[in-house]
């Protein structure tokens, strides 16, 4: 299950979306996420679905690769669905004892889960098509004005890119430790919640120790390569807007306008 998380993994491919400036993609994703909460009718879903489908097609990332990432949020999804279904007051659809499913509840549950799924797919689109280095470059340059109020923008961006780089490595390591502990008779499956949580200790302790050791090694390797913070650094891939970025901004703008218009008109 652990291996299914696709957020934070880059999918190498040469597509229009991959070549876009990371700033365009960041702003686009932000607009997309906000847009998901701007409409309440059926037409809105059609527009979002079309937009998302178009993006996925243009990115040339296999669809199943994105769906894989959804498995990680299945629990969250279930909770959302159940709460909305049972706890929304309104016209009852099914009633068993004091438990009832209302028409409004069912509707909200379905739409809410679609929103969540779209949210995850949309944001994993960004990380799948943008290398973490580009992503942090983009963030760094978008947030650069904050440097004036002494926010360590470069340091935060660097930390994020390193965290992203180590996600797959630490996941692999978790898998390895898990197998090693299972081989020695550890049981991660049975028992109640408290017992299960306790059984995670022999997994988490070695994982943390190894993560600290890795961090130490990495810091040393970075210093050995003359890293001394953001001052005086140049960029191998400086951010430059291309023609396609302006087109992308235009598309995102039209999309947002359509969604807003939908909210006002219908």
């Amino acid at each position: 299950m652990i291996r299914d998380i696709t957020i934070g993994q880059y999918y190498p491919q040469d597509s229009v979306i991959h070549r876009l400036d990371p700033r365009t993609k960041l702003v686009g994703t932000l607009v997309y996420i906000i847009s998901l909460f701007l409409f309440h009718n059926f037409m809105g879903y059609i527009i979002v679905t079309l937009f998302l489908a178009g993006m996925i097609h243009a990115s040339k990332v296999p669809f199943r690769f994105m769906v894989k990432g959804l498995r990680a949020i299945i629990v969250l999804l279930m909770i959302t669905v159940l709460f909305n279904m049972f706890l929304t007051p309104g016209e009852p659809l099914v009633q068993v004892g004091f438990i009832q499913i209302t028409k409004e509840g069912a509707r909200i549950a379905v739409f809410m889960s679609i929103r969540l799924v779209y949210l995850i797919i949309g944001s994993s689109m960004m990380t799948l098509t943008t290398t973490p280095n580009q992503l942090t470059d983009g963030l760094e340059s978008l947030l650069a004005p904050l440097k004036r109020v002494k926010v360590p923008v470069h340091e935060i961006a660097m930390m994020m890119s390193i965290a992203l780089r180590f996600i797959p490595i630490l996941l692999e390591e978790t898998d390895k430790i898990m197998k090693a502990q299972i081989a020695r008779g550890a049981d991660f499956e049975s028992g109640n919640l408290i017992k299960k949580a306790k059984s995670l200790i022999p997994l988490l302790v070695p994982l943390f120790i190894s993560a600290f050791r890795r961090a130490n090694d990495l810091a040393m390797a970075m210093e050995a390569r003359c890293y001394s913070g953001g001052e005086g650094r140049t960029k191998m891939k400086p951010l430059l807007y291309q023609m396609n970025d302006y087109r992308a901004y235009a598309i995102v703008g039209v999309y947002l306008a359509a969604i807003i218009a939908m909210g006002i008109l219908l």
Binding site: N133, S161, I169, D217, A224, Y227, K235
Partner: protein, 283 residues
């Protein structure tokens, strides 16, 4: 004076208790004298805990000498202002390839060093191309390091240093975590860098097979240099090496045993071909 020179270099790890009082002093490097010429391939051998890695970290100014002197290309290692000059002169490759690759794409990782040095963009690209070519990884430039084999990852790490164009590369047990194929890839790569690009190479290892091509070997034990010489000189002292818990290459050991049982073989045979030639000449 050579590119690296040390006189009576001493380094102590000091362990303190919670109040900051000194609890134990562990002298990891004890009076080491080095003199390494520009363009040489130098190997530092030693078993675990012999102080070889601690010594290596001095060459890149990650650690600074407790006592004694160390000059890297004329820069005094004790002078804090020279820190970046030293790191520009002597690049360092570490043991675990996973823990020294910063970026998620091969070419971006190779570009990390030059970016830190403030090299203009166009030149970074030239350097990255050249560095990847020199370690034979050019066709993997767009790949994710996670998908590469150990030997390939380590070659990317070497390219990351090469792109900074240091005069000297220090490799701290670069092959310890690799399989035999990966080991060969890495050793071939650094040998080629040394021969073709004239980079000074300092290889720290405990695999004797890897140092046969070296110009000069230092053997370390308990923080001190106990033997020094060319591979031939070192490997002819088979029993002394055994004492320092180092494994002599099998051919050398076989030749030594044959010599002891009365065959007229010279000392310090390093390769199978050499041994075959010598035996053929006997009859």
């Amino acid at each position: 004076m050579g590119i690296i020179k040390s006189e009576n270099l001493i380094f102590e790890y000091i362990r303190r208790d919670e109040e900051g009082n000194v609890e134990a002093i562990n002298r990891a490097v004890n009076g080491v004298n080095l003199d390494i010429k520009q363009g040489d391939f130098v190997a530092i051998l030693g078993h675990n805990g012999s102080g070889k890695s601690t010594l290596a970290k001095h060459l890149n100014a990650i650690l600074r000498p407790t006592e004694g002197d160390l000059w890297i290309d004329g820069h005094d290692a004790k002078d804090l202002n020279k820190l970046w000059d030293i790191r520009k002169t002597a690049g360092m490759v570490f043991q675990n390839p996973d823990n020294q690759i910063i970026a998620t794409v091969v070419e971006e990782d190779v570009g990390f060093g030059p970016e830190n040095l403030g090299i203009p963009t166009a030149e970074i690209w030239e350097r990255v191309d050249k560095a990847l070519k020199s370690v034979n990884m050019l066709k993997y430039r767009k790949h994710s390091p996670n998908k590469l084999s150990g030997g390939q990852k380590q070659r990317v790490a070497i390219a990351g240093i090469v792109a900074m164009q240091p005069k000297c590369i220090v490799l701290d047990e670069p092959t310890a975590m690799l399989d035999p194929n990966g080991r060969k890839e890495v050793i071939d790569t650094i040998t080629r860098l040394n021969r073709e690009e004239k980079v000074t190479v300092i290889l720290i290892t405990h695999y004797m097979e890897e140092v046969i091509g070296a110009d000069q070997i230092y053997v370390m034990d308990q923080g001190s240099v106990v033997m020094q010489g060319t591979p031939k000189e070192i490997f002819s002292r088979v029993w002394e090496l055994k004492k320092y818990r180092l494994d002599v290459p099998q051919v050398t050991l076989l030749a030594e045993e044959l010599r002891n049982s009365g065959l007229q073989l010279p000392e310090g045979i390093l390769t199978i071909d050499e041994l075959v030639d010598e035996i053929c000449q006997l009859y």
